[in-house]
């Protein structure tokens, strides 16, 4: 039981912690709500007084007096309803905003291994749907307090006026609350299912439109239409199921208060005849019963909403309580001056803890300051892993990785990452200008520096030709570049950072071989005096390196210059030939 309950409690704790900084707003909101309640419940009483004293008894000045009083109370209630609404939504939106900020900041700091496992879509739904559920709960807090008070006040007033009638009028109303809660919790899963079916429809549409050449090529339109037909039927069924639930509850929610009104009319009418109740009181009873419908409905909804909010908070909390694994140690050291010597000592590493065969096994490797080394090997040999251990994206299972003589785990992470520049195989560019993308490491960089980095990466010419040159926006809503162009911008981004160690992980694989030739001269300039690790398979690129290391199954199986290996090593020739056949395509 404790295991099931403690994450739930953690969810509540998170909710509490989120709204605590806003207690002033909550208190004012609740107070405004209470004043509103007081004003609200006074109005039917004033109506009663106006009817009994003014209309029926015709006391002089009574009509005017009570009407004006109603108007005055109306002003108060109007002012309070505005204040309460403003504060309630304000608190809820602020809580949501703050949680979203925390979530983002935390996700930014979580280790690579977390992001390898997590699905972006899942994380996005934490930030969108779950936070909305929490918001939807927080917004109800002030109104719930005043609703509860309304119910209490009305019950007291009616009981004081006429206990018997009060019992008859209000007797059925608690059922409204029960029905509302049951309705809310029954409709919720069905509407989720409906949402899912709708998502299913969009999947069919999406894949049909993107795969339209296949669909048309095989004349498979009827097959897709049939799938669509199935989907729409399922949507229809879910929608009707939701409608049946609504049809089952909503009219009942209206019917129960109506029973109270029948009681008031019948029993109350007879009481008036007997002189035990005034006409004004009869009308007031009527209005009071009507006044309770909404508060009772909303309280039911609140309970259901609270359950969803806690479940959502639980999921959000799961992320927030995941500790980042790659962080500065308490005694983290600054990076000493050095030429960028990289050393692997007996390194063992696997992405999955306890996997039968680690990706790297007892790897020893020394790359001298300023040296350019090419890592070559078939897919899955571990070359990308070598590259990713140097900037400490992952921690080794055994052995150590050292930069200029210091274990990377002992270095300040920020300094390490600034000292090691990496260009990934799959290029990620931000939805920002070309300039901002290149100057990512240093947004203050001068235009001259940006351009020189772009030149070295062989990107300056094509960037100049873009519609707005360096100010051209990239990404989803901006200009879309070819794979080779994207890689060159990523390369410029790493060059501008001016790292001590530069790692190019298949960074020019999409660049047209004829164009790569243009970059090569400039690359030599970038690599001069800088420790560089190149993962590549094109002979021309490999030739840039001083030394070639052939990796296979997580071990070094040969090393030497390109020409040496080409002449002496059969496996090396195999690996390159395979890559070339693929590249020629």
């Amino acid at each position: 039981m404790t295991t099931a309950r403690s994450p739930r409690r953690a969810g509540w704790r998170l909710l509490g912690a989120t709204i605590r900084p806003q207690r002033t707003g909550i208190i004012i909101g609740v107070v405004a709500g209470l004043v509103w309640t007081a004003a609200k419940v006074t109005i039917p009483t004033l109506t009663r007084l106006a009817i009994d004293r003014g209309v029926i008894a015709d006391e002089p000045g009574a009509l005017a007096r009570w009407s004006v009083a109603m108007l005055a109370v109306g002003l108060v209630s109007a002012a309070c309803t505005g204040t309460r609404r403003y504060l309630a939504f304000g608190i809820a939106h602020r809580a949501e905003t703050e949680l979203r900020r925390r979530l983002f900041a935390h996700l930014q700091r979580l280790h690579f291994a977390f992001h390898d496992r997590a699905q972006t879509g899942q994380l996005m739904s934490r930030a969108a749907t779950d936070l909305q559920q929490i918001q939807g709960f927080v917004v109800l807090i002030p109104i719930t307090v005043s609703n509860a008070m309304t119910v209490l006040a009305v019950a007291v007033i009616l009981t004081l006026t006429n206990p018997g009638l009060a019992l008859l009028a209000l007797g059925a109303l608690p059922l409204v609350n029960v029905a509302a809660k049951r309705f809310s919790s029954r409709i919720h899963p069905v509407s989720l299912e409906l949402q899912q079916e709708l998502a299913g429809v969009s999947t069919v549409v999406e894949e049909t439109v993107t795969g339209i050449r296949v669909v048309k090529g095989f004349g498979a339109e009827p097959i897709q239409a049939a799938r669509m037909g199935e989907r729409t039927v399922r949507v229809y069924e879910r929608a009707m199921r939701a409608a049946r639930i609504r049809a089952g509850f909503m009219p009942v929610l209206d019917f129960l208060p109506a029973l109270g009104l029948v009681a008031v009319l019948w029993y109350g009418g007879h009481q008036v005849l007997d002189g035990r109740l005034t006409i004004g009181e009869l009308v007031a009873f009527n209005t009071y019963v009507l006044m309770l419908i909404w508060p009772l409905r909303m309280t039911g909804m609140l309970i259901a909403q609270a359950q969803r909010a806690v479940a959502a908070a639980q999921r959000v909390n799961e992320i927030l309580s995941t500790e980042p694994e790659i962080v500065d140690r308490p005694d983290a050291r600054p990076l000493p001056a050095g030429g960028g010597e990289v050393r692997f000592e007996g390194v063992r590493f696997g992405y999955v803890a306890g996997a039968a065969r680690p990706v790297l096994d007892n790897l020893d490797l020394v790359i001298k300051p300023g040296e350019a080394v090419a890592l070559v090997g078939p897919t899955g040999c571990g070359k990308t892993t070598v590259a990713r251990l140097i900037p400490r994206f992952y921690d080794v299972d055994d052995g150590q990785v050292l930069l200029d003589g210091v274990d990377v785990r002992h270095l300040k992470l920020q300094e390490l990452r600034h000292a090691v520049g990496i260009v990934f195989e799959d290029t990620f560019l931000f939805g920002d200008s070309v300039r901002a993308n290149i100057a990512f490491a240093d947004p203050e960089a001068s235009q001259a520096r940006v351009e020189s980095a772009a030149r070295l990466a062989g990107g300056h010419e094509f960037i100049e030709r873009l519609p707005k040159g360096y100010n051209t926006l990239l990404g989803e809503r901006g200009f879309s570049l070819s794979g080779g162009q994207r890689q060159r911008i990523a390369l410029a981004r790493a060059i501008l950072a001016d790292p001590r160690v530069l790692i190019l992980d298949d960074a020019t694989s999409s660049v047209d071989p004829t164009k790569e030739h243009e970059i090569r001269g400039a690359m030599a300039e970038v690599m001069a005096g800088r420790t560089t690790i190149v993962i590549a398979h094109r002979p021309a690129t490999i030739a840039l390196a001083d030394r070639v290391i052939l990796l296979d199954e997580g071990r070094i199986i040969a090393e030497g210059t390109h020409d040496q290996l080409l002449a002496e090593n059969e496996r090396y020739r195999q690996v390159l030939a395979q890559a070339a056949e693929q590249d020629a395509a």
Partner: protein, 597 residues
């Protein structure tokens, strides 16, 4: 409550009166098959609204005839009447929800199927022009906003409107003078509601925009997290996100402010009107112009009148949004396909040659992609198309399968112009296998079945066996029933390619147009794909867009496409001997290989 989330429609999407009329007319014409259901639903709504409205009237009867006249019987009658009306309302509003939703959902189901069929019937040129996202949005967010209206707002919208209109009628009928008195706050309410509707629409649009931006920044922060960490830029990204986040909050608070200003106005108007009715109405009672019961009924009616007004002002945005969505959908349905089947189209003969005569083509009507292409491929012949990227090879392949029609010239199969053929027979004779194996959600069997509608499991398995990959897929834990997941992500690129080839095998066409994959596969799969392709090509007319030297070498004839025309035709050996473009291409290919080995 959808309207609490805030629906909104942008200025450019707003319909003019003329457009709105057109959309409504068209929507009603789509509802014609359900004519009687529409009438029934409306009658039920009218009935349930009337039932709700008769409550206060019965209270009036009870007070005037019962209490004032000291008649217990009248009170009993009023109470029984009230009970009957309440039960009636219970039954009718139940029926109302079911009828209106059923009608709306049927309408949406028809609309979905029609739009989808229509999209599928469009020509390739249409898909080149339209962005995928936009088409998908028609079928998703646009129809979903209609769904939202049907599920959440339609009943409320209609009944609230009825309630307001009928209330006014009843009030005027009961006492024109008091009814007139009720109208004193009406101008303020109307002005405030219209202003609220407009400004809240604007505010919600801004909120929607901001939410979109926050989410896309978030998405970027997640997909780019590795780059961000590699450059140690976490804090900068966080600052950037915080700004977006704050901007979203600001937009939301503006929307809150607008509603926090509007709601008090309605509440005050409601109380003020009640005060006026009681105060001035009281004077009228003294003058015997109205009865106490009427006064009480008015007070009760007023309690019910302002709530619907408030809801309507919010529902209006939802209705406008749905109207805009519907207009866009009708717009899509009005776009005609440029590749329709001709009237009197004939089935293609079972066998024959394929011949292009004087074919020219341009995607945009300005820049020619192909010009003056003449090519005849004999039955059973294997032809390789080679040439640089953008030379027009793929375009030629698309024309051969009539994904497009040539701008000039003609393509014929067995002497029949493809434009005169039925689309069904065309798809049976000529099949294109695209470069990447494109898979749909579903099992491996489902995906192969795309090749021929209604194929039995055995036929599908035969197709897999024919290209020699049955065992490979059977070896999966769930075998041929393995769900391939989104875009076939469960399978490797090579396996997807194999499924795509099996599809072609199932289709069993006379002519096969193969676009060879350029992406690299692992050596094992590479061999399987190669074997599958060879098995598939056996005994068919084949046009292959070759990216591999070996493929060109093995073809009966090589066609070099360059700059939109056929540059050279001949066997591999002939062309090598000619020392033209093919020879040059061959040299650069084998040169690349030689350099590596």
């Amino acid at each position: 409550m959808a309207w609490m989330r805030g629906a909104a429609v942008s200025e450019e999407d707003k319909l003019t009166r003329e457009q709105a009329r057109h959309v409504i007319r068209r929507a009603f014409s789509m509802l014609r098959p359900y004519k009687w259901e529409v009438v029934g639903a409306f009658a039920v709504m009218l009935g349930s609204t009337a039932a709700i409205l008769s409550g206060p009237a019965l209270v009036r009867y009870g007070i005037d005839r019962g209490v004032r006249k000291h008649s217990g019987g009248a009170i009993d009658r009023a109470a029984i009447g009230y009970l009957v009306v309440a039960v009636l309302a219970l039954v009718l509003s139940r029926a109302q929800i079911l009828l209106v939703t059923r009608l709306g959902e049927k309408f949406l189901r028809d609309l979905r199927l029609r739009v989808f069929d229509h999209i599928q019937s469009m020509s390739m040129a249409f898909f080149d022009k339209e962005q995928t996202g936009k088409l998908v949005a028609r079928m998703t967010s646009d129809i979903d906003s209609l769904q939202e209206l049907v599920q959440q707002g339609l009943v409320q919208f209609v009944t609230n409107t009825l309630l307001i209109v009928l209330s006014v009628v009843v009030l005027v009928a009961m006492s024109p003078m008091l009814a007139l008195l009720c109208m004193i706050s009406l101008p303020i309410v109307i002005v405030a509601s219209v202003r609220f509707q407009r400004s809240s629409n604007e505010a919600y649009l801004a909120v929607r925009d901001r939410i979109g931006q926050t989410l896309s920044t978030l998405q970027e922060g997640l997909s780019g997290v590795r780059v961000i960490q590699a450059f140690g830029r976490e804090e900068v990204q966080e600052r950037r996100f915080t700004q977006e986040n704050q901007a979203q909050l600001d937009a939301q608070m503006r929307a809150v402010k607008i509603s926090a200003r509007y709601f008090p106005v309605i509440e005050l108007a409601s109380v003020a009107t009640t005060a006026a009715i009681v105060g001035l109405g009281g004077v009228l009672v003294h003058r015997d112009a109205v009865t106490v019961g009427t006064l009480a009924a008015f007070v009760l009616y007023l309690t019910n009148l302002f709530e619907p007004i408030q809801q309507l002002s919010q529902l209006f945005n939802l209705v406008q949004q749905a109207g805009a969505a519907l207009a866009k959908l009708f717009g899509l349905l009005d776009t005609r396909s440029t590749l329709p089947e001709r009237v009197g189209a004939v089935d293609l003969p079972a066998h024959g040659d394929i011949e292009a005569t004087g074919v020219a083509f341009s995607y945009d009507g300005v820049t020619p992609v192909l010009a003056g292409v003449d090519l005849r491929v004999a039955p059973g012949e294997r032809v390789a198309l080679v040439g640089p990227t953008g030379a027009g090879k793929s375009t030629l392949a698309k024309l051969l399968s009539r994904l497009y029609d040539p701008t000039e010239g003609a393509i014929a199969f067995a002497g029949v112009d493809l434009r005169d053929a039925t689309l069904r027979s065309l798809r049976e004779r000529i099949v294109v296998v695209p470069q990447e194996g494109y898979l749909f959600n579903g099992t491996i069997l489902d995906n192969v079945r795309i090749g021929r509608k209604g194929a039995t499991d055995d036929e599908v398995i035969d197709a897999l066996r024919m290209i020699g990959v049955e065992e490979r897929f059977r070896a999966f834990a769930e075998g041929l029933q393995t769900e391939v997941r989104e875009r076939g992500s469960r399978l490797s690129a090579g396996e997807r390619q194999l499924v795509s080839l099996a599809r072609a095998a199932l289709a069993n066409p006379e002519v096969l147009v193969l676009d060879e994959a350029t992406s690299s596969l692992d050596p094992g799969t590479e061999a399987d794909v190669e074997g599958a392709m060879n098995a598939l090509m056996e005994g068919r007319t084949v046009l292959v867009i070759a990216h591999r030297l070996s493929t060109a070498e093995r073809a009966d004839r090589v066609v070099v496409v360059d700059a939109g025309g056929i540059a050279e035709v001949g066997t591999h050996e002939e062309l090598l001997a000619r020392e033209g473009r093919y020879a040059a291409l061959y040299a650069s290919w084998s040169g690349g290989l030689a350099a590596a080995s």
